[in-house]
Every structure is written in C-alpha cells, then in structure tokens.
C-alpha cells in the first residue's frame, strides 16, 4: 500500500502468532480506527522494554531487583516449581494452587533445535538450590519427549539426591468426562491414578 504501512505490517507479522491478515487488521485498526491509541501503545511498549528484565534469580519477568514472586516473603521458600516459559508460570499462578517459588528455564532440551543446557536458564540453578535450601522440586514441563529428557537431565545432573522431586500429573481436564478424552490422555490418567483417601 505504502512503504510505511508495509513496514508496520511486516514488523507486526514477525511477532509470534500473527499471520499477514491479523497483522494488516491490527495495523489498520491503529491507523484508521483508533489513531488515538497509537501514542499510549508506543509509550507502554517503550516503558515496559526499559523497566522489565529477566529476574536474575528465577528468570521470570521483573521490574526491580527481582520479580514479585521472588520478593514475596509469604511464599514457601523451600519449594520450587520448574517451568519452561513465563506463560507456564502465569498459568500456574492463575490456578492459585501453588505457593512456592519458580525457576523458568526459557525452553527445554532440544537437540533438533540446537537447544542444549547452555541455552537454558540454568547458570544459577544448583547454587540456588543450595542457597535457598530447596527441599522439594516440582517439574512442570511439557509431556513430550523433549520435556521428559529435560526432567531426566535435571534430576540426573543438577538436583541433589536429598531433594524430593516430582513431575506434575497428566490426565483428564477437569469438568471433562472420560468419554471425551483421547486415548493418550486416558492412558496418562490411568497411569497417574491415585488411591481414594
């Protein structure tokens, strides 16, 4: 259409999850329908980019010296949940079911995508376990081969034997009937069954 418009669309399209059509829609929305939104959005992005950084302790997004979760003294300091990415952490937070701290790996081991341990956020991991006297670790990484290999790697190489390690269960989504689950999910659910108490 015009070089400036095309560049904007290209920039938007480069963002994760956006195709050409969505990119065009957003560009047109901002330029034609809501031009008054452009400046506040621009400012919000700049401000966030200036203020936010990776938490040096856990890898979550942080505004100050460390993230709000690491700073929260009401959290169980000896319980750690390992997740792949920040959205996984946010999802667990939304569940309000967990009161410990986190460690965000920013990925999982994947030789196919050239992701080895050096590419993961593991630099301070063992030091952290020792300093914070972590007693229990929950591995909440994805239920696939790369997730499984990542769990193996952490347990075999980085986590001392005396720390209790578990992997989150995989099974039926709540509210869903057995009949709607696919065979693989049902199998995980059966394997992860637990006694009635």
């Amino acid at each position: 259409m015009s070089p400036a418009f095309d560049e904007l669309v290209q920039r938007l399209k480069a963002l994760p999850g956006l195709g050409i059509r969505s990119a065009e829609r957003i560009a047109l929305h901002l330029l034609v329908q809501k031009p008054e939104d452009v400046l506040p959005l621009q400012e919000a992005i700049t401000k966030a980019a200036e203020k936010l950084h990776r938490c040096p302790i856990c890898g979550n997004l942080a505004e100050g010296d460390c993230c709000s979760i690491c700073a929260d003294s009401n959290r169980d300091p000896h319980l750690l949940c390992v997740v792949e990415n920040v959205p996984d952490l946010l999802a667990i937070e939304r569940s309000s079911a967990y009161r410990g701290r986190y460690h965000v790996l920013h990925g999982k081991l994947s030789p196919l995508h050239d992701v080895g341990p050096e590419e993961l956020n593991l630099g301070n991991f063992t030091a952290r376990l020792e300093e914070e006297k972590i007693r229990e670790i929950i591995l909440a990484v994805s239920n696939d081969i790369e997730g499984e290999a990542t769990c193996h790697y952490l347990t075999e190489n980085l986590i001392p034997r005396e720390v209790t390690v578990s992997r989150i269960g995989f099974g039926l989504p709540s509210g869903a009937g057995v009949v709607f689950a696919d065979a693989t999910t049902l199998k995980s659910a059966l394997e992860a069954r637990r006694p009635m108490s």
Partner: protein, 364 residues
Amino acid sequence: MRLEALHLQEYRNIPLARLRFAGNRIFLQGPNGQGKTNLLEAIAYATAMRSFRTADYHHLMRTGAGETGLLYFFASDRGESSQLEIRLRSGGRELRWDDRRIPRLGEIIGHFPVVVFSSQDLQILRGAPSLRRRWLDMTLGTTSPEYLQILRDYQEALQARNKLLRKPPFVEALFAPFENLLVEKGQKLRKLREEGLARLTGLVESFYYRLTGGHEEGVLRYLPGTRQTDPGAWRERLSAERERDHFRGGTGSGPHRDDWTFWLDENDARAQASEGQQRGLVLALGLAQCRLFKEVLQEEPILLADDILGELDPQRRRRFWDLLPAEAQIFATGTEWPDLPQEETWQKWEVSEGRFEALLGKER
C-alpha cells in the same frame, strides 16, 4: 463399515464425481489409466489420510487445481452413519468429521478401516525392510493409539540422539536423557511389535493353509533391529557406540532397524518360494490384517482388490473369494469383467477417462 457414497472434486484425473454405491459388492471395469485405482486410493485415504501409492498428498490433487475435495458417507456395522470430509490444498490438509473440524489425525485412526489387496503387495515380501516396517506400523497403529504414540516418541528420541551424534565431543550428560528414553520407548515398541506379529502370524498361517488347500505352513518371523533385551545392557551398548554411530551418520541399531520375514515350511520365502507361493503369502497377510482389524476395532473393514484377480489361478481365486468375510463391503477392479461369485449381487461400474458409470444388470 460400508461406504455408501463418495464425492470427489478435482481429485487425480477426476474433475467431479458423485458416486452412490449399492450393496456390498462393487466391481469397476475399464482399461488401464482410466481412474480405477485412483478411486480405490481415495477410499483407502480415509483410514489415516495416507495414500497407498504416494507419500506426497499433492499428487492426489488434479493438475492445476487449487483445492481437492473428498467427501465420504460411511455407515458403520451398527448402522451409524458418519460423514468425513477431506480438503487438500497446497498449503495443508483439512479434515472434518460430521462437520466438526478434526485438528489431530489421531482422532480418526481406527474409525474407517480399509484393507487393500494390490499387485504391489508382493513388494511387502520382496522389497526393502522399510516397506515391511511401514506396513506393520500402519497395521498396528490402526488398531492401537498407544502404538502410534510410542512409535512417535521413539522416533523423536532417535532424531534427538542422531542430531547430538553430529557434534563431537560427546557429552555424557546430554546423551543420557535421550538414550534412556530411546531404550525405554524402544523396549515398549519392540514388545508391541512382537505381540502384534505373533497375533498376525497365527492368522497368516491359517489363511495360507486354507488358500492353498493345506500343504505348506506359512509364518512370519520377527527380526529385531537390536540384540539387546536388558535395558541396562542396551543403554551401555548405545553409549559405547556413539563414536561408531557418528561416522555411520546415525544410530546403528534399535527398533528403527527391525524387520520381519515370511517363512514357508522352514524356508525363507523371499529366496526360496515360487512367485505363486509368494502371492499366496501376501494374500494371506491381507486377510490376516482384515481379521485383526475386525477383532480389535469391532468393525468389518472395507476391502479393496486392485486388479489382483487375474493373477490367481481359478482354484485360488475361488478360495480367495470364499475366505473373504461375507459381511465385508468389497470394491474390486479389473480391465475385464471376471467370473464373479454370485454375479447378480455385484454393482458394476464402467470407468473411462476419470468418469464412472454404473451399469444396470443387463447392459454388460
């Protein structure tokens, strides 16, 4: 399972066809290259969105077509009808089942079973091990979602290890997680293949016996791609072979190198059986596959017989018809009208240049 109607649009050499099939016996006649096998291929495609002729679905699209559509009207043995719609575009495939979009192919696997008998089947016996593995994976995968999952997991772990092999030096901590998984999934895969082949060989033996009038014993034998059975020893072996596998360009042993062979009276059928005996063995294999699907899925598969009748002597042809399950729907093709058992029960079609015409009883 019965296919009651099939609509094809811009598929192979067929611009548009709306076919309604009457009954359980359908015969398609026409010269070579007119579209008979194309139609059977379309029917078989519903099983797992996989063609028995090509690995690239773009070959199914009519030259120059932007989109190809296949619409199936199935009726299950219990009388439930379902509609399956497949759309092929150069950018991807779309699958809808009763107008609901199916994002994962695994959801339809095992629901629309089809068994193909084709003259190409001899390659299963004669060809490379990869063809036999593919056949076995397809057969066991159709009957067990667990098998498909373990196969996928194994292949992912294998790809990961192969990628690690490319970059020495080999760091133990990096290899161990993937090799552990390779052994864990590999053992399960091996066990499922062993059990599957044991079940199939019993069926093959019985069908071959009846097909040939009972003189020889035809069986299948499993040849595992690794001698290791103990997980610890298997892991050690993998770790000892990293260097060698690096130069070989990939993991040298494991279920991805599995094979299985046909044996006839204690002789390797590939080397020592006659062509007639070999044909008999692959027919028995197809019948065994059909019975396995029926037993596990509780659904009679649709049978496709692509130009195989002419290759059998009259006696075997008769026995072959006798061995086919009476309730199964059968689509057969040939360049000429054959002598069909209970001829009046067959719906006959003439195929010419991608057009299909159903014939009334007398027009033959």
